[in-house]
Subunit: 154 residues, 2 copies
Amino acid sequence: MSNICDHNRCKKSARKAAEHLCKELGVRFTTHRRRVFEIIWQSHKAMSAAQIMQQMDNSQPPITYRALDFLKNAGLIHHVTSLNAYVGCLHTQNPNHIGQLLICTSCYNIVELEPKTAIEKLTFEAKQHGFRPNQTHIEMLGTCKDCLKNERNA
Amino acid sequence: MSNICDHNRCKKSARKAAEHLCKELGVRFTTHRRRVFEIIWQSHKAMSAAQIMQQMDNSQPPITYRALDFLKNAGLIHHVTSLNAYVGCLHTQNPNHIGQLLICTSCYNIVELEPKTAIEKLTFEAKQHGFRPNQTHIEMLGTCKDCLKNERNA
DNA sequence: TTTGCAACTGTTACAGTTTAACAATAAAGA
DNA sequence: TCTTTATTGTTAAACTGTAACAGTTGCAAA
């Protein structure tokens, strides 16, 4: 999927948000955590834990999984449940936001839609059922514009 | 979550749909497949593959995983990705429908919302991005009415 | 009825993913 | 400095899912 965003800027702003958030929560943005963060933020592509570990110079699994947990709980990354993978979160300003992801299963790039797109109706329905939402996953798998174009040319 | 549905009727109609669908596709609703189907349809609760296997008298994993794959591809059950679990699908009439699930993480009961609730906006946005959807997961985790009531009484 | 094909099962072994547990270390405040 | 808490290092194991291949069954055409 085309980099609609200027990715360097994207990454920088996420890093800033991460540092700010850690300071606020009184927790440390340690080497491992920063490392995993940077690896995930190389792109907007979904990465599996295994792929991330490959870039963590032979560190043991718990190192990576702990960092992933930390980043996820801090709202700095999303866990893409339908792929069992991770991707940077673009809305670090709003820790309560709900990720709505368009996931290309060809190039694994992910576009995160703005909050509220589909949530409102869902939240309304939940209320009707007396249901208290806690965590929501909205994931649409498919093929992105660029990959569709490549398909046609192939 | 309270059984809003008359579950016996629910189960019966699902079984009928399953048999009909298998006949239509020219595939067999074999013992294993039927077994897994019945286990999942004991309730509207999410069940993990491991839980299902426990009820399959010591049969080897591939037996269960194959049946799960079969039922999923036939649209007879949903894979709940955020729990890595399975639940019966209520809309077996429409094989293209998209599951929108309210999942109680306390009792694991699942309510499946009617199609179209949140999909339309999502689909619209996808189109804006030139994205071709293929498979969508909408899963809201939280606490259901009954479990909330129990919380208050506890 | 026999034959042949495709669907399905049985079984073993393995690969991939995640966590438990606990000891060791580092940072931050009293 | 001392104490407390957060974080890391390490091992081993549990959990989850699949590859591969031989054997069996059901069905349809000859």
